[in-house]
Structures are given as structure tokens and as C-alpha cells.
Amino acid sequence: MKEKQYGMTPGKRFGNGVMSVVLNLIMLLFSLSCIFPLIWMLYSSLKEKRQFNADIIGLPKVPTLSNYIKILTNPDYHMGESLMNSIRTTLVSVFFIVLFGFIVGYFLSRIRFKGSQFVWLMLLMGMLIPVHSLLVPIYVVFNTLGLNDHWYTLMIPYIAFGMPIAVFLTQSFIHEIPTALEEAASIDGCSFSGTLFKIIMPICRPVMVTVAIIQTFACWNEFSFALVLIKNVRLQTVPLAVKQFSGQFGSDYPKIMAALLVTMAPIVIMYFCFSKQIIKGMVAGAVKG
């Protein structure tokens, strides 16, 4: 920095100063816009409806938790249940996406078996298919078979939709691991399954974490399939829980904000605690996928 400015004319140094202010301002405005809605909702959710309607932007004069209490204690809203449903659906789905991604990825990368080309093609198709073309038919299939409205209903499509990207990421990761490792293990008398889970799986930890990060956000935030497959309010996930609030009191914004924040909380906390790893995982997933 010091050497660069050495020998600059005063005019050029002034130009750089203006440039620096402008560029910093652009980025600051953008970053502020990204965090502003969260902050605005945080303090506005502490207002009574009347106070919010009188002044939408000011800080609360008498902060109150009444919105949160109403939302969390009224059994008609099923907020606690919705959070539990989302947590369960997300955890189970992510677990199986990571596991299946690992297994299928391993076989595709290491073993020449009949139909492997076909499996490739199937998964590739799955990446390209516009997912909303499945919205209506998946409802028809699930409805016919009585699979709608169960605790496991949403896990089926979530695991299936998460699989292609998980397989491709794991496959390309395993491709880089030397096969000598497995050959040695096999000579030492380690079984196929033992090698798979005790030797290869630990090495794949980084890519499995990446897959888990991407899919946690995807499952937690998924809305459209939950919308058509879950009708029972006691089984709804958090995006559906938020939707019910807009219908019941569409104009009570502080209450909607409180609901949004409650449903966003796990994700937001996780994001700000592990933002570095999360960003790294998501970017790696996007570029390689």
C-alpha cells in the first residue's frame, strides 16, 4: 500500500480518496440492506400492533414479548409442533441424503457394475427435471397410496431430490482418493463393507459435511411440496406454520414478524456461528455440482 502511493500526484491521491469512499459506500449499503430486514423484524416484533401501525420504523417505546408469548402458547398455532416437525424432517432427510449420496457415489466411482451408466443418467435427469413438474403428480401418487399426512411423508421427496447433488459431489471426491487404500485393506482381510465404512467414509468427511450443510438449508426452507403433501396442521413444517399466520391476521405485522423470527432462528443462529464453513460448503457445492 505504502509503496503504491509513493510518487503519486496530489490530484491522483485525491481521486483515490473519492473512489475509496464511493466503493466502500456501495458495499456498505448492500451489506446493510441484507441485514436490515432481520434487525427491523427483531425490534418491530417487540411492538404492539397499534404502536407498529402508528410508526413502522421507530424503535419500540415499551418493548413487549407479548407477540412471542401469544404465538408460542396458543395451541391453535402449533408452533412448537411445527418446529419439532421441521427438525425431525430435516435431520432424518439430511442423514439419509448424506448416507445414500456416499453409498451411490462410491459405487459409481469405484465399481463397474451392470447398469451403472443407467444410474448415472437417472441421477443426471433428476438434476435437470424442473422440480415443480412433479408437484401435482407426486400429490396424486401419494394420495392414491395413502402416503399423505404422515410424519415421514416429506422425507421421501426430500431425500430423493437431495440425492443427485449428494451423489455427484461424493463421487468426484472419492475419485481423487487412491484405490491403493482399498486394495491394501482387502489384502489385510478387511471385508468390502468394512472397507467402505471404516476406511473410505472417514476420508469423505469433508464432502459429507458439505452435502449436509447444503441439504439442511434446502430441507428446512422447502415449501411447495410440504404445501401439497401435508394438510394436517399437526404435521406442518415451519414454512407452512408461517403461512397460516398471514391468513388469520394478515394485518398484524409484529405478530407475523415474531413468527418469522421464531421459524428462522435455528437457521440464522447456525449461519452466524458457522458462516465461514457454510459459505465454503455452499460455494463448493454450487461450483462442482
Binding site: I156, A160, F223, M264
Partner: protein, 295 residues
């Protein structure tokens, strides 16, 4: 590839569960959609085989084609908005002037981790005519005459629903592009600077060609991501006013569930599938032509 293969039974045993589940959730519904698209079916026990009538209706259905047009408009706006602005921000953030880079990364990426439903509600509250921030802001800067019921304006509504999507994903594409530009050798940029290339020339002639493949990845992600638009439109407008913000997925949903017209809804689903694949195919073709012209 391993020299010593496991038994065929082992391979089968490992793969059958994941692949069966996958087929059940992805391919069976597609086949079912094709099957039901040949029927007049209102969701009840009675269906009538009507051959290709649903498809004939679909080809003449102006709302469906309007929705497809809206999808394309959204994709266009978002490619320019998300990837374009993200690229400009990457250029800005990479200059030595900008401080707090870590904070810009963390905050910029943050909106992309929030559900489209939540984003939809947040922006609905921003656009709200009586209690929204947008109208409050217009009042505050002394332009109360510009205030309006934003989401009721058919001419603006598609752009207004695109803005949250653009805003949400700028940071996402910014970080993908940053990961590519940070791999560029600093000496190349310095020598370009010494040769007298200004910042814009460096961005267009030096950096852009070097991160071209990443830009293509971003555009592919952006197109396929925005062909899927549904959640935030469902929350903000449900396709209205009239059909002014109707997109294909929303239309399929409305026909199938609000009108219980499952047969026609299945035909729309097949239509979404075909058009979605066609858009991806055209995009692949363009990027191939683009790559050949460069070579």
C-alpha cells in the same frame, strides 16, 4: 475402479434402497402425470379418457403461455440482476480500497440462506401500501405522490416480485465468483495495471475471460433456479392481480388444487417438464456455441 469387485448381490443390496426411493419420488410421478394427462379428471372417482384434448387445450391456453413468458422474464431479470450485479460487486470488493471484506461476505450471503417464504413475507411488508417501508420512504424523501398499492399494479408486479429474488441471491453469486477471482494470479492484474489498463478494462478484458467458466456455471444455476419460482410468488401475490404475476408452477398448482382439475393439471405438469427441459437445452446449446466461438 477397483480391481476386485464385490459380489453382484452386495452391489444390488447397497443400491436398491436409494435407487428405489429415488425412482419412486421422481420417475413414477412423471409417468403418472403423463397417464392422467389423457383424462378428464376432477380428482374424484370418475375419469374419462379424452386422448390429447388436454394438450390441445394447453396449446391454446393463453394464461399458460403468459405464465411461461413471465418465467422467462423473471429468468432474464435475475440473470442480469443476480449474476450481473454480483460481478460488479466482486470487482468493487476486490479493489484495495474496500475495507471490511469479511463482513460483506458474511452479510451478503446471509439472505440466500433464508426460505423464499420468509423473504416473500418480508418484502410484502416492505411493499405494503399503508404500513410498508417503501411508501414510508417515498413520503420521507418528499414524493408522497409516487405512493401506490404496489402489488396491485399489473404492469409492475412481475418486476416487484423479481426484486426480492435478485436481492436474495446477489451475495450467493458474489461469493461463487469471488472464489474464482481469488484464484487469479495477482501479478497478471498488476502487470495489466502497469500497462495502463483502467479498472473497467481490467474487469472486462482480463478478469472476465479468466472466470468465464464460473460465470457460465452461475448463469446455469440462475436460470434453473428461477424457472422454479413459486414460493415467494405464492406468498406475495398468488399469481395476481388477475394473472399478472402467474408463473407456470403457480398456474399448475391453481388448476390442480384450487379448481380440482387434476387431469388438466397433469397436462400442465408435463408442459412444465417439456418447457423446462427445452430452456435448459437451449441454454446448453448457447453456451456450447459461445465456447466454440472463443476457441
Amino acid at each position: 475402479m477397483l480391481s476386485k469387485k464385490p459380489k453382484a448381490g452386495t452391489t444390488f443390496g447397497y443400491l436398491i434402497v436409494p435407487l428405489a426411493l429415488y425412482t419412486f419420488a421422481v420417475f413414477i410421478p412423471l409417468l403418472v402425470a403423463v397417464y392422467y394427462s389423457f383424462f378428464e379428471w376432477k380428482g374424484g372417482p370418475n375419469k374419462t379418457f379424452i386422448g390429447l384434448d388436454n394438450y390441445a387445450a394447453l396449446l391454446r391456453d393463453s394464461v399458460f403461455w403468459q405464465s411461461f413468458g413471465h418465467n422467462l422474464y423473471l429468468v432474464l431479470l435475475c440473470v442480469i440482476g443476480q449474476v450481473g450485479i454480483a460481478f460488479v460487486f466482486v470487482m468493487v470488493i476486490s479493489t484495495r480500497f474496500v475495507k471490511l471484506k469479511g463482513i460483506h461476505r458474511t452479510l451478503g450471503f446471509f439472505p440466500s440462506t433464508i426460505s423464499a417464504v420468509a423473504i416473500g413475507y418480508i418484502w410484502m411488508m416492505i411493499y405494503d401500501s399503508r404500513r410498508g417501508i417503501l411508501n414510508w420512504f417515498l413520503e420521507a424523501i418528499g414524493h408522497p405522490e409516487k405512493k401506490q398499492v404496489w402489488l396491485n399494479n399489473p404492469a409492475l408486479v412481475m418486476t416487484l416480485v423479481a426484486i426480492p429474488l435478485i436481492w436474495q441471491y446477489i451475495g450467493y453469486y458474489m461469493l461463487i465468483l469471488l472464489s474464482a477471482t481469488s484464484a487469479i494470479d495477482k501479478e497478471i492484474l498488476e502487470s495489466a495495471e502497469l500497462d495502463g489498463a483502467n479498472a473497467i478494462q481490467r474487469a472486462v478484458h482480463v478478469i472476465l475471460p479468466m472466470v468465464k467458466s464460473t460465470v457460465v456455471v452461475c448463469i446455469v444455476l440462475c436460470v434453473s433456479g428461477n424457472m422454479k419460482a413459486f414460493d415467494n410468488i405464492f406468498v406475495m401475490t398468488e399469481g395476481g392481480p388477475g394473472n399478472a404475476s402467474m408463473v407456470m408452477a403457480m398456474y399448475g398448482y391453481k388448476i390442480s388444487f384450487a379448481q380440482q382439475n387434476m387431469g388438466y393439471g397433469s397436462a400442465i405438469s408435463v408442459g412444465i417438464f417439456v418447457l423446462g427441459m427445452a430452456v435448459i437445452g437451449v441454454m446448453q446449446l448457447i453456451s456450447k456455441l459461445f465456447a466454440e466461438k472463443e476457441a
